[in-house]
Structure formats: C-alpha cells, structure tokens
Amino acid sequence: MSTVRVLVGTRKGAFILTADQYRQNWTVDGPHFPGWEIYHITSAPSDPKRLYASQSSGWFGQVIQRSDDGGKTWETVNNEFAYDGTPGTHQWYDGTQHPWEFKRVWHLQPSPTDPDSIYAGVEDAALFHSKDGGKSWSELSGLREVKGNLWQPGAGGMCLHTIVLSPDNPDRIFVAISAAGAFRSDDAGASWRPINQGLKSDYELPDAEAEVGHCVHSIAMHPSRPNILFMQKHWDVMRTDNGGDSWHEVSGNLPSDFGFPIAVHAHEPDTIYVVPITSDSYHYPPDGKLRVYRSRSGGDQWDALTDGLPQENCYVNVLRNAFAIDSLESCGVYFGTTGGQVYVSPDSGDHWVTAVHDLPPVLSIEVQIL
C-alpha cells in the first residue's frame, strides 16, 4: 500500500502530513523549524528521502535545511546566495535604479535525476544552482541580463517563485518572476530570453504588451507535453503550445481570472486547476465561496469544484506554491490556505476532505508517493 507524504511550508514552521493511499485520515508531524517562515519544503524526485527546506526570518535571514531521511533529521547547508559579480540595479518604486539585494529563497527545485542538483529561486529575483546538495550556490546570472534593469518589484516583492525543468531536455528551464514575467533558457541556464508574447497587462504596465514587466503568478506543465504550459497571471489564465513563444488566454467562464496557483492533472494533460480570487484588491474567493475550478479541455471551459469546501463566509487566499498534485492512479489534489487549512481531494477534485484545520498560514505544499 502506498504512503502519501505532504510537505507543508507555513509562516511559522514546516509540517509533514502522512496518510495511506485513500487519503482520508491524516497524521500531522511538526512543526519543524518552529517560528520560522518556510517558504518552500520539497523533495528530490530521484531520492524521496532527500528533502530541502527554505527557512527564513525577518530577524535572522535565510537558512537552507536538508534532510536525508525523509524529514526525521535535518542539517543546515550553505545559505550564502551571492549575486554574480557586481549585482547591478533594477527599477525601484520611484522610478530610480536600486541595487539588487538578497532577501530570501522562495522556491527550491531539485533535478529530476540528481538529488544533489537543485535550483533556488530568490528575492530579489535571481536563479541559483547547487551541484553539491546545497553546500555551495552559484548564480545563473544570464537571467538578470534580460532587461533586469527594467524589472520592478510588485507589492509582494520581486521574487523568482516558479522553476519548471523540462523533462525531455535537461538544458531547458522555465522560470517566472513577479512583476518581471516568464523566461526560458535552452542552454542549462547560461542564457535566457523573455517569453511573454501574448500577455496583456492593461492596468499594470504603461506598455500593456511589454517584453518584460508582466506579473506572472505561476506556471505549470504536464511532463508528457513539455511545450504546453499554463500560466496564472496577475489577471488572466494563459496557455502556450510552443514552449512560451506565444501565449493565448484561456480564462473562459471563470468567475474571476485573478489568482495565484495553477496545476495540471497527473494523468490528463488537458485537465488543469486554478483557484479564482476576487481581485488584486480583494485577496479572497468570490462571494465567500472557496471553489477550485477545473478545466478538462486545457482551458476556456471551467467547472467549479465545491464538494467538501466551505461555501459561505470563507475569506482565505491560496498562495502560488500552496497547490500540488500527486501521481496515484486516482489523482490527488492538495492545497493550503492563508487560514491554515490543508484540503485534499483523492479523486481529481470531485470531493474534498480537510487534512488539517488550524496550521499557520500555508505558503507551500508538495506531495510525495512513497
């Protein structure tokens, strides 16, 4: 029988949830690193015992933790993220240039084949790579050469929050940055190009179709179709069929096309999930109803999934990294809220159970099948 392990990062520590393959009854272990913000805790696909966690604090800065026994014990690894060469400057709120300053690691993405190879997306936006399990980090600084001087932080900070590694081509990497856009490398991170054609930011940018500056909230890919990506933008749900060379909108009949996470079903490449949020001014679900929306047609046509989710007086948010999919035959869907609930659907979103009610605000969710 399979064991399901859910890695939860919160504002006040990490939690590890486990259940059997039916995913109804959950055991909660934690908090790990109590009192610290865990922006992301994740596992290496090639070694399920290898976990990494980004642990940070406004007082004490950034710490990176690594476990080689599935989270029973942890060791700190290198937390020095030094920008390559002279860091340079980016656009600041008042239109002046501002030096790049490291603040925290938002996202950790281990390689699919090597547990010691791991990428880190950081704020101020940059991508780092470690080839030795986090003992040292090097910046892939070609990314910031793609008009980095024009990138400008949004209200949530200028963070590199999404890293997608192409399963069929180890040289191809996609990243997304708040208020900068999406970018692609085809040479293992040495050089980059913006992939924002088709995005429109009418109310956010002076040039609505600018090459960089779009506030991408997250992107997702199904491993069987690495040229098709889905994007939840600040507003608009988007799709590309050519690896990001151009995007088109697939928001369709969503009640709001503002939101943070987006995910693809494990076995149905055209089934995608979003969590609509009322607006950029109201970071809670429309009408106080927590609804996951699922499209089985790769976008445009969406259905609300509500069975087991609160349908009145619900004013939580679901953050960009707080949504995950498992690989069991009956695909599991998971998300955490700013109210500290973790919801689980063992049947592709048709029915939901609450795995845990009262955690601190959830920042990230990842799931493993053991």
């Binding site: 109590p34 009192g35 610290w36 604090s57 406004g58 007082w59 004490f60 800065g61 950034q62 710490v63 700190t76 937390n79 020095e80 030094a82």
Partner: protein, 99 residues
C-alpha cells in the same frame, strides 16, 4: 579569554545548544572576534547574525552587555572588562517586534 555568549531562542535551536555558549577568544576581545569565533564553531549561524559578505550586523539583531546597547559600537572596539573576564555574557538578541 573565556567569554560567555547568549543567543536568542531561534539561534540556540539552530545551533543545537542550550544556555550560554563559552568561547575562548584571543585578545583583544571585540564583537568581531567573538562573532568570527562563534561562526567558526557554529557554521550554521553564518549569515544569521551578520551578513556573510559585508559582515554588517543584520538590521534586527542587537548586541548588549552590562546593561548597555553595544550594537552601534565599531566591531573592532574592545568590549567591557566584565565581558572579557566572563562575568557578564555578550548578549545577541532579536529586536523587539510586534504590536
């Protein structure tokens, strides 16, 4: 000189220590000498008290000893005799926050 160093709760947890830490710091005993030795003995603390590269104190970290705030003293300034003699600990604390 045997110096006692007091860490805030989260850094004690990170360093896997309880109570105050004792360090044998060569003279002259300064903030910089204490922090250099502390980070050498407990490498998991690198970057949590001061910036790894610039060695500047993190904004919400304060240094206290003998009832005085030493946070703005030059890092190479000698510390009070009560600290260098081990009578008083060199206190590293997180700044007050909240409402």
């Amino acid at each position: 000189m045997i110096i006692r160093v007091s860490l805030p709760t989260h850094l004690r947890t990170l360093a896997q220590v309880t109570g105050t830490i004792t360090l044998d710091v060569p003279e002259p005993v300064t903030q910089q000498a204490i922090l250099d030795l502390l980070e050498s003995a407990y490498p998991m603390l690198r970057g949590t008290i001061r910036d790894s590269t610039s060695k500047e104190r993190r904004p919400f970290i304060r240094f206290f000893a003998c009832g005085e705030d030493l946070s703005h003293q030059p890092p190479e300034s000698p510390l009070p005799g009560e600290v260098t003699s081990g009578i008083e600990p060199f206190r590293i604390i997180g700044a007050m926050a909240g409402g």
